[in-house]
């Protein structure tokens, strides 16, 4: 999935010029934005695409025969085709717009889960899942009498694969797991896990939130059945997200929500559903957001996802080397096979204090449980601090982080 290069793969200074927010100051210091796993910043290309849409071509999609509506529809569906291409889907109709990854996973749990699962069926998840890939299944389990199983996480942050044969039972109908952990940075062996799931006839739902923005990603090559990801983590706007699914499976699913756009024919007492992908898109969609995500995908494609991965990998490797010498600092997760983020604890200093202290230096990191409470419980820590990198981050910024962390350690020591 990943080609490795040793040279700096991106022209970071040129990229930075495209991100107006990187010019701002926080607490009188130049912003160092290292909270990209939560949400990335947006380049002018994305802002302009959305602005242009609202200024020049806004109208409702799929409904009017006037010029603006046609232009809006073309742009909206064009964005879908870009995303489809970007993730190696067979065709745009397998790409369903949602508000975010959370909604995409809920769509599968509500539509596929409620129509295909019965009491006694099992859903396999992992201990490292984000709440978004946990809670929808808990709700479904309570409602349908479905059992949940979990692949455990080893101390080194990898999934314990030895348990898989035991956990993948003939009753297991779905295996939902993240391509990469948003806390540990672990890159999971997606193909291997998928093959194991398919052997027992279980479908695979991949939470691809921390993969699609950061590396080459091809749904057909991975041979998965569903993928969910959020546009706002990959240079796109908030309110844009994607559920990708194999069309045979999507076709066999009932609609998620009912209303306009998702129907072909409506009578007073019954209706016929529209075809894919619109069957799952009830009501006026987030048109500008879809167009914005299309522009984001163009931007990432122009950089090349191999280069994005290589640059991030280089940066996180450098960061880990630098911070591991700080007294009391402990890094969570694997040493290699990881994404461009690093979570850590620093002695007894509460991560909130770390984040607040770094913020006073203009550095934005995340502190807390990162919507993965069970995983934190697994590692016996209530919270962690996380620095996550993206295409516009530099080695200089890592150095600022490192010197900031040294100050934090000193400030809170006693």
């Amino acid at each position: 999935m990943i080609a490795s290069t040793s040279s700096v793969a991106l022209d970071v200074q040129r990229i930075r010029a495209d991100f107006p927010i990187l010019q701002r100051e926080v607490k009188g210091k130049r912003l160092v934005y290292l909270d990209n796993a939560a949400s990335s910043q947006k380049p002018i290309q994305v802002l302009d695409a959305m602005d242009r849409y609202y200024r020049e071509t806004h109208a409702n999609v799929h409904r009017g025969v006037h010029t603006l509506s046609e232009e809006a529809t073309t742009a909206y569906e064009g964005a879908r085709a870009k995303v489809s291409n970007f993730i190696g889907a067979c065709c745009p109709k397998e790409v369903i717009w949602t508000r975010n990854a959370t909604e995409a996973i809920n769509l599968v749990a509500y539509s596929w889960g409620r129509s295909h699962l019965k009491q006694g069926d099992r859903v396999l998840l992992t201990e490292m899942e984000h709440h978004a890939n946990l809670v929808p299944w808990q709700i479904l389990a309570a409602e349908k009498g479905v059992e949940l199983d979990f692949v455990r996480v080893a101390d080194n942050g990898a999934l314990i694969l030895d348990d898989l044969p035991k956990l993948l039972t003939p009753k297991t109908k779905l295996f939902g797991f993240s391509a990469a952990s948003n806390v540990l940075g672990t890159l999971n062996p997606v193909k291997e896990l998928t093959q194991a799931a398919h052997k027992v006839g279980a479908l695979v739902l991949l939470d691809a939130c921390q993969a699609v923005p950061h590396m080459p990603f091809d749904v057909q090559d991975l041979d998965i059945d569903f993928a969910a990801f959020s546009g706002h983590k990959m240079l796109g706007p908030t309110g844009s997200g994607v559920l990708w699914g194999r069309r045979e499976i999507l076709n066999a699913m009932p609609p998620f929500m009912g209303g306009g756009d998702m129907i072909r024919e409506v009578k007073l007492r019954q209706s016929k559903w529209n075809e894919l992908p619109w069957k799952f898109e009830a009501g006026t969609p987030a048109i500008a957001e879809a167009i914005g995500l299309g522009a984001a995908v163009d931007y990432l494609s122009s950089l090349g996802m191999e280069n994005v991965y290589a640059a991030e990998h280089e940066l996180v490797t450098y960061a880990m080397e630098q911070i591991q010498d700080i007294e009391g600092l402990k890094i969570l997760g694997p040493r290699d096979r990881r994404t461009g983020l690093v979570s850590f604890i620093l002695g007894n200093v509460h991560p909130h204090d770390i984040a607040a202290a770094l913020d006073s230096l203009g550095i934005a990191i995340r502190a807390g449980h990162h919507c993965a409470q069970p995983l934190h419980e697994r590692f016996g820590v209530p919270a962690t601090a996380r620095a996550s990198f993206y295409i516009y981050n530099t080695r200089d910024e890592v150095d600022v982080l490192v010197s900031g962390l040294r100050k934090v350690a000193e400030y809170f020591s006693f």
């Binding site: 909130h352 449980h369 919270a383 809170f412």
Partner: protein, 126 residues
Amino acid sequence: MDLYAEEILDHYKHPRHFGHLDEPTLVYHDRNPLCGDEITLELKIEDGKVVDIAFTGHGCAISRAAASMMSEEIIGKSLDELKGYDKESILDLLGIEVGPVRIKCALLPLKAMKAAVWGLAEEGEE
């Protein structure tokens, strides 16, 4: 680095009344799972007044300093007086502005104290 007021940092590093009482009258445990803050508050009450107090737990500097400062503050106060404490009392003690995200940290000790005084049952512990 100039992050927290000197006094807050001092209460964080040297919390007053940190530990346990021999025979507490009221004990209350509370937590804030979102941040992982945790506090156990012990009060000794005689003639309707707080004669001693202790707390244990872990949390960020703000929640720990708030617990320490509140402990100093409420010794000698009557139960009725304690019932009158609110968010503003704690923020006054801290003497800093606390943003919307961290207000929960600051108020956890107060929440535990009020629950102890009102005799609220602890929610089912895991």
